[in-house]
């Protein structure tokens, strides 16, 4: 149980970073931390005590496997995370070109 809690705490660490950090790159890193905590959570869900990797090989047709579905989901989620992070970084670079800073206190033309 404690490991699930640690996982949740990691999620909250990321959320804290998103809320409190003032640097665009740090915000992106915080989002990545949140993502990893959720990936970890999914892998924990699928874990079976003493299970092996869910690949059927010769001679191990009936071995005890961990649940493969969360792993498949996490693979998808990693791909999505890659795309999100890449787009975020691209926009951050463009913002840096326009505003000349990564500080969100100075990037606030839109208000209200």
């Amino acid at each position: 149980m404690i490991i699930y809690l640690l996982c949740f705490i990691l999620f909250l660490v990321g959320l804290y970073g998103v809320i409190s950090k003032r640097n665009l790159i740090k915000i992106i890193i915080s989002i990545a931390i949140m993502e990893y905590s959720i990936n970890l959570f999914f892998i924990l869900i699928g874990y079976v005590e003493g299970g092996t990797a869910p690949i059927i090989t010769k001679g191990f047709e009936n071995a005890k496997f961990v649940d493969p579905l969360p792993q498949a989901m996490i693979l998808t989620s990693i791909v999505i995370g890659l795309a999100t992070t890449a787009l975020l970084l691209a926009v951050a670079i463009r913002i840096y070109q326009k505003y000349g800073t990564f500080d969100i206190n100075k990037i606030k033309d839109l208000k209200g």
Binding site: I55, K58, E61, L75, V79, A86, A90, I93, R94, Q97
Partner: protein, 146 residues
């Protein structure tokens, strides 16, 4: 972008084909062992990225390469869609993503129906996508200097 010293270049020349080959190995054995299209594609893209980082490239050539990779990426996705769509026609029942090829024998390299083919297509797509992302960032940085 500028390249690095000739030590890095020489080592890159030797190591890049091996990394690339390892990526292909992961993709081809995707249905037999951990890994598959995504993991192998990332490794293959790593070989390209290493080469660009070590040797450096001028901006116009990078742009050209980016376009080519974009093309390859879209073609790979289309290939994937066509493979999935072939299931509609070949399987008899109108089923998207039907595994219409012979499943083969467990544990052999040629087995699993069309899953290895899809793995290869996904590998090409992921490799192209990640290399595109990298090159796009480099292009941004080079544009900024001007």
């Amino acid at each position: 972008m500028k390249g690095m010293t000739f030590i890095v270049k020489k080592i890159t020349q030797i190591i890049c084909p091996i990394i690339f080959m390892f990526g292909l190995y992961i993709i081809v054995h995707g249905h037999l062992s951990p890994g598959g299209g995504f993991a192998g594609g990332v490794i293959m893209a790593g070989a390209f990225i290493l080469q660009i980082l070590a040797n450096g490239k001028i901006l116009p050539k990078l742009r050209k390469e980016e376009e080519g990779l974009e093309f390859m990426e879209s073609a790979a996705i289309l290939g994937f869609l066509i493979l999935a769509g072939l299931g509609l026609l070949i399987s008899g029942g109108v089923v998207f993503f039907a595994n219409f090829l012979d499943k083969g024998e467990l544990g052999k390299l040629i087995s699993g129906g069309f899953i290895p083919i899809e793995n290869i297509v996904i590998g090409a797509e992921v490799c192209a996508a990640i290399a595109t992302i990298f090159i796009a960032m480099v292009v941004y940085k080079d544009e900024e200097k001007k």
